[in-house]
Symmetry: C2
Subunit: 201 residues, 2 copies
DNA sequence: CCTGCGCCGGGACATTTGTCACCGCGGACC
DNA sequence: GGTCCGCGGTGACAAATGTCCCGGCGCAGG
C-alpha cells in the first residue's frame, strides 16, 4: 500500500484527487494539506511514501517544501503537480530533488501511474517540458534582481520597493534596469511577466 | 437522469470532475469541453439539462458562453464554476442568467448538490460572495477604459495600446488616467490589478 | 595579489507616464 | 431646445521611470 500525502490549495481539486486516488487499490491518501505549512507538518507526522505537492500555494511554494522535505524526510519521494509547465519550475524541482513533475493538463489516470513510477524511484517528467527547460537556459537573474522584480509585479513604485526591501531608490532603479536588460524587455512589467512565465520568480 | 455538460480547460480537473459526477446515480456527463467553442458546439448538439461552465478558458470567458446559451438553449440551466470568487464575475453571471455560481474552494460534494438544486430552478450562490458583490458596487469603468486597461496588463506602452486599439496616444493616456482615477490607484498596473481582482475586466 | 562579480549607492539625463484643461461630435434623456 | 455623458483628440506640464555613468565594499577563484 502506497501511503500518500496530498498538498493542494484548491479545495475542490484536492478533495477530487483524494477521492480518486483512494479509489486505487494500492494507494492510500494518509494526509491532506491546503498550505505548505500544513503539508510540512503532516509529512513529518505521518511520514508518507510519496508527497504530491502543488507549487502555487497561498503561504509559499511547493518547490521550497520539496527542498525541506528532502532534508527532513529523505525517504519520502516528491511528485510535483502544477498548473503551469514553466521551465524554471522544472529546473527548481530537479534542484530540490523532486522525483517527478506533472502538469495538471493530462487526465487523472496519469496521476496514479506517475505515483507508482515515482515510488519505484523512476523519474517522471514530460519530455516536451524537459526540452523546453533545457533550451530556455538557466535563470539569468541574480537574487536581488528577482526580489526587486517580484516586488514590482503588483504595481509598486520605486519608492515602495525601496521601502519594502530596505534599499535606496537608486539601487532599486539599477536592479530594475538590469532585470529589464537581462530579460530583453522594455519595462519592469514586461520583465516581471517574462520572469513569471519562465518560472524565474 | 440529469444530463450534464462539463466545460473546464484544465484537463486533470475536468476528467476528475467527470469521473466523480458520473459516479452519482442521477447524473450523467453527456459532454466534455476544454474551450468555450467546444462547449457551445457540444451544448447545441447534445442539449444537456445543466451546463457546468468554468469562467477562465483559453479562448474566451464562460460568462459569455452562458449568455449565448441563454439565448440559443433557453431550457438549459447554467452553473458557473470558477477559481476566483470575484464580485464582478458573480454580477456578470447573474446578468447572463446563470442559475448558480460556485467557487472551486469547497469540497466536491457541494458540486453534485448544486447541480441538483440548479436543475430544480433554485439559485445557488455563496452568501458571503453575494454580499461582497453587492458591497463592491457595479463596474465603474466604461467600455473603452476596460479595453485600454486590458491592453495594458502585459506591460504594453502607450504607443502599443494606441496601435492595437487604433487610437491616438493622447486618448490612451486620457483613458488610462480615468481608469486610474476610478479605481483610486496610483498607476496603470495597480489599476489593472484592482480591475482584475474585482472581475471588472 | 589581482580579477571578477554581486551587492549597494549617487548623479545626470532622456523618455515615458500620469494629470489637467480644453476642443468637437453624437446619442440619450427630459 | 438644453444638458449630460461617453468617445476621440490636442497641448502642456510635473512626476515617475529607465539608462548610463561613476564610486565603494566584500568575497570567491585563479
Amino acid at each position: 500500500m502506497i501511503r500518500l500525502l496530498l498538498a493542494e490549495d484548491q479545495g475542490m481539486m484536492r478533495s477530487a484527487l483524494a477521492l480518486l486516488l483512494d479509489l486505487e487499490p494500492d494507494i492510500e491518501v494518509v494526509a491532506q494539506a491546503g498550505t505548505t505549512a500544513e503539508a510540512l507538518d503532516a509529512a513529518l507526522r505521518v511520514r508518507p511514501d510519496v508527497a504530491l505537492l502543488d507549487i502555487e500555494m497561498p503561504d509559499g511554494s511547493g518547490l521550497d517544501t520539496a527542498a525541506t522535505l528532502r532534508d527532513k524526510l529523505p525517504g519520502c519521494r516528491v511528485l510535483i503537480l502544477t498548473t503551469f509547465g514553466r521551465p524554471g519550475y522544472l529546473r527548481r524541482a530537479m534542484e530540490a530533488s523532486a522525483t517527478g513533475f506533472l502538469v495538471k493538463d493530462g487526465p487523472v489516470e496519469e496521476l496514479a501511474a506517475a505515483v507508482r513510477r515515482v515510488l519505484a524511484g523512476e523519474r517522471v517528467i514530460d519530455a516536451a517540458l524537459a526540452a523546453a527547460a533545457l533550451s530556455a537556459g538557466p535563470n539569468p537573474l541574480s537574487d536581488r534582481e528577482r526580489d526587486v522584480l517580484h516586488a514590482a509585479v503588483d504595481g509598486a513604485t520605486v519608492a515602495d520597493i525601496a521601502g519594502r526591501l530596505h534599499l535606496s531608490e537608486s539601487t532599486v532603479r539599477n536592479y530594475l534596469s538590469a532585470a529589464i536588460g537581462k530579460t530583453s524587455t522594455r519595462n519592469r512589467i514586461e520583465a516581471a511577466h517574462r520572469a513569471r512565465s519562465n518560472g524565474w520568480i
